[in-house]
Symmetry: C2
Subunit: 181 residues, 2 copies
């Protein structure tokens, strides 16, 4: 139900416009699913002049923050997502100088570098091959890449405890990490 529970927002939240976007779709359970998230982000206009996020990207967003494996998202997770999305959007926009809604391969590399990811030309080539069209990468795919890179780096670093840049996986564990993204 739209705006259910809005009046009962805990201290200060009622003034938070992000809380308004959230409650408009979250309903009584206070959780949003991937299709509700897609609707919510589209209605909020967070993508600005860029195309709204695909359902696939919204599923990834839920997965990235779904620590309790509920396959849905509460308000605190939504707020964390909002901040990440805004940060990534600003990064994307700073490289999309002609406002075409796309960036080129070398701009993508610069954007990743600015986020702290120093990837080899081989890795960049694989990413461009997988996500680009005509040598350019769109905003929705850029966002998918950012979510995946963050989740994968986090999972890798948990296993690379001595910071050698190498990590060992058991097969089932490898499948758990990679099928989740």
């Amino acid at each position: 139900m739209a705006f259910q529970g809005y009046g009962a927002a805990p201290g200060g939240m009622a003034q938070d416009p992000i809380y308004g976007y959230f409650t408009a779709v979250a309903g009584q359970d206070g959780q949003i699913s991937a299709d509700e998230l897609q609707r919510c982000l589209t209605q909020s206009g967070i993508a600005g002049s860029y195309k709204p996020f695909s359902l696939e990207t919204c599923r990834l967003m839920i997965t990235m923050l779904d620590r309790d494996m509920s396959n849905s998202m509460g308000f605190s997770e939504f707020k964390e997502l909002w901040q990440s999305v805004n940060g990534w959007k600003n990064t994307f926009a700073s490289y999309d100088r002609d406002r075409s809604g796309t960036v080129e391969g070398h701009e993508l590399q610069q954007a990743f570098s600015a986020m702290g990811y120093n990837l080899s030309p081989q890795a960049m080539s694989i990413i461009m091959n997988r996500y680009s069209g005509q040598g350019r990468i769109g905003f929705d795919d850029f966002m998918s890449c950012c979510i995946k890179l963050r989740a994968l780096t986090d999972q890798f670093q948990r296993r690379d405890t001595t910071r050698t840049g190498r990590a060992e996986f058991q097969f089932d564990e490898f499948i758990q990490v990679t099928m989740n993204i």
Copy 2:
């Protein structure tokens, strides 16, 4: 151009109906991109009564077989894909007994098991969480899972040369493998 070069098909191919589907979209360069593949598979009716494949799944199909990193697919790769898709469709259909176009978690586990993947309950739970809706997994997502599982298992086994069920990755290599799927 539709049917370009059809008459010049190498020995026997002109009689192969799969070659007809391929050339109808491949055009003069003899290669198909992800959106052409989507059109081609939809027109061929390979999904039967199931919903046509999403563009995301078609991109994965191209990636899976794109050994020359051209981001497109030639006829021999297309034929290999056709056989895999048909096999997976038959597996899916054998578990989708009520012809709802979806299977449940325990049926998915049985299907994977029949394909030789013995995954833990944790891995199955992650896969269901990521790909299912209301506890059921649709044909397009099932296909995505099959493609990813095959590619990931292949990449893991290449590094687990002594078959201990453990494999080590360098960070950049890990990103190359996982961002490709």
